[in-house]
């Protein structure tokens, strides 16, 4: 362990935190991933809406595409044309954001068109105002993820991961998509789309698609949703991804994997156990404090 490695580790943790937050917010502007099924159902149960329906794919494959594309572009610019890493990664992230915009537009148009019988219109102003916000978040995510991958693979830096740069970016893209999907979506799907139901009540299957389509004033847009998610869902996703990157690399930075590999494995196990215990305590406290969780009264006879 040296100071350079620790500095790089801190930089990776910080980049991952920003990337996690922007990834979750990017998916929230477009209602990608889990909450998407409810947006998709809304028109079918009689609630046409003006919410963005960005069904590109699940978050892991789409973020893997942005990260891999940005890394490939950066790699070509660096090794083929001798460009400085910082500018190469920035240009790579721009290309990724453009691809993100194209896929978002086709997904919004396609999904809404396929609901014609439910009177779901394709609103071009929704496309104009929201796609740019989606692309901006995708740019930040791609830039941060590719920077992490570059730090891990650059030949002049100490980590020197054996995998090639674009492949590491692909794996981190998949990872950030998975974490964004599992951590942040709950806040948007459970708490924003269904804010007219009692907190903690869960979603009865009969209420599927009954999402909030009207805002405090006017109709609800996805920009309103991302404003809400930026309060908690986005930052908490950032923290989850930042901690994942930081703690995972921390244990292999303090213990040399070549000579002290088992210490790194044991540290990993200890970290996982600590988190399980912490999560359990947090869950019990939340149940007690926020309820209502009525006691089970037995089955009601028909």
């Amino acid at each position: 362990m040296d100071m350079v490695s620790m500095g790089l580790l801190a930089a990776m943790g910080a980049l991952a935190t920003v990337a996690g937050a922007s990834e979750d917010l990017e998916s929230d502007v477009g209602s990608q991933s889990n909450p998407n099924s409810q947006v998709q159902l809304a028109a079918q149960v009689g609630h046409p809406h003006r919410i963005y329906n960005k069904a590109i794919s699940g978050e892991p494959p789409s973020n893997a595409l942005y990260a891999a594309l940005a890394a490939v572009t950066a790699s070509v610019l660096m090794s083929g044309y001798g460009m400085n890493a910082f500018f190469a990664i920035a240009i790579g992230a721009v290309v990724a954001a453009i691809f993100n915009g194209i896929f978002s537009v086709t997904a919004y148009m396609g999904r809404n068109t396929s609901q014609a019988r439910f009177n779901q219109y394709v609103y071009l102003d929704v496309l104009r105002t929201h796609t740019t916000a989606i692309m901006a978040h995708a740019y930040i995510t791609a830039f941060c993820v590719v920077s992490i991958s570059y730090i891990m693979t650059a030949p002049w830096l100490p980590i020197q991961h054996p995998f090639p740069f674009p492949l590491v970016a692909l794996i981190w893209g998949l990872a950030i998509g998975a974490i964004g999907s599992s951590t942040g979506d709950v806040h948007y799907g459970g708490e924003r789309e269904f804010q007219n139901y009692i907190f903690g009540a869960g979603l009865n299957a009969a209420n599927s698609g009954d999402i909030v389509t009207k805002a405090e004033a006017g109709l609800r847009s996805s920009i309103d949703n991302v404003w809400f998610c930026a309060r908690f869902g986005g930052p908490v996703t950032g923290m989850a991804f930042g901690l994942t990157v930081f703690l995972d690399n921390w244990r292999t930075t303090i213990f040399d994997p070549a000579t002290q590999g088992w210490y790194a494995v044991l540290t990993g196990i200890v970290i996982v156990i600590l988190f399980i215990v912490y999560n359990r305590i947090l869950e019990i406290r939340a149940r007690k404090r926020y309820g209502p969780y009525p006691e089970y009264k037995g089955d009601i006879e028909a």
Partner: protein, 267 residues
């Protein structure tokens, strides 16, 4: 055919699409190889990319047919599975077959797909009638996409060159994921009760062109500035087919509005 997630009946027959996909894919890959070898350049690599677009259309149609059944998984899983099967088979074919490698790879991948389909229907008992046939088609499409984009980056059908240019550089990352999205995105993006086959397939062409463009970027380093031809061709194909997709959106949708409130009954 009235099904859960997908929309109207197929206007283009699946056998015809399979012929175009397989024929176009193999033709594109071999034309790129032969013309590059004969002329001693890499100007014709873009032809492999055009072959890939044909295979993507075939794969997107197979995705459409199998995912219409509500198979209990997301559409993306099917596209990624196609590329997974294609990757193993393509590398196997190229490593043992030399110039005949693509044919062997595609055949093995299709056999692989058929076998996986048999397993899902007979062992897991999903009992989805089109499973064997669609997974076979998807396996073939995955293999053509991987080999085609690999040849686009390398310029020739040669195992060692493809390993050096595609695997060692890490460009397999973009080939794999852009190819997967090209196969899975068209149906995923058009999913719904009023989905139409022509709109999904036109979208597949534009998504295939995006995969070709992304891989063309990678080929700028491996085959040099000739790679720009692939990017320009891909950009033109994308532009033409995106405009056609928008025309079909206007044809099929309840209404394309500049702005406006919700329709009657929505408030």
């Amino acid at each position: 055919m009235s099904v859960a997630a997908g929309g109207g009946a197929a206007k283009i027959d699946k056998t015809k699409l399979m012929m175009y996909g397989l024929g176009g894919g193999v033709l594109g890959i071999y034309l790129a190889h032969v013309l590059n070898e004969v002329t001693g350049t890499t100007y014709f690599s873009f032809l492999a990319g055009l072959g890939v677009i044909a295979a993507v259309v075939m794969g997107a149609d197979a995705t459409r047919r199998v995912c219409s059944y509500g198979i209990g998984t997301g559409v993306p899983s099917i596209g990624l599975m196609a590329m997974g099967m294609g990757l193993v088979a393509a590398m196997f074919g190229l490593s043992i077959g030399g110039v005949a490698g693509p044919i062997i790879g595609i055949a093995v991948s299709m056999g692989f797909g058929y076998f996986v389909g048999l397993l899902t229907n007979r062992i897991i008992k999903m009992n989805i009638p089109v499973m064997e046939e669609t997974l076979m088609t998807l396996g073939g499409a995955g293999a053509i996409v991987l080999i085609g984009l690999g040849v686009m980056v390398s310029g020739v059908i040669d195992y060692r060159t493809i390993i050096g240019n595609v695997i060692d550089t890490g460009y397999i990352a973009i080939i794999f994921i852009a190819g997967s999205l090209a196969i899975l995105h068209p149906f995923n993006a058009n999913l719904g009760p009023d989905e139409t086959q022509d709109r999904t397939l036109i979208h597949a062409v534009s998504a295939g062109a995006l995969a070709m463009f992304a891989t063309g970027l990678a080929s700028l380093e491996t085959i040099g500035s000739e790679g720009i031809i692939s990017m320009i061709v891909a950009a033109i194909v994308w532009l033409v087919f995106f405009r056609r997709f928008f025309e079909l959106v206007k044809r099929d949708s309840a209404g394309v509005k500049g702005t406006g409130l919700l329709p009657e009954g929505g408030l």
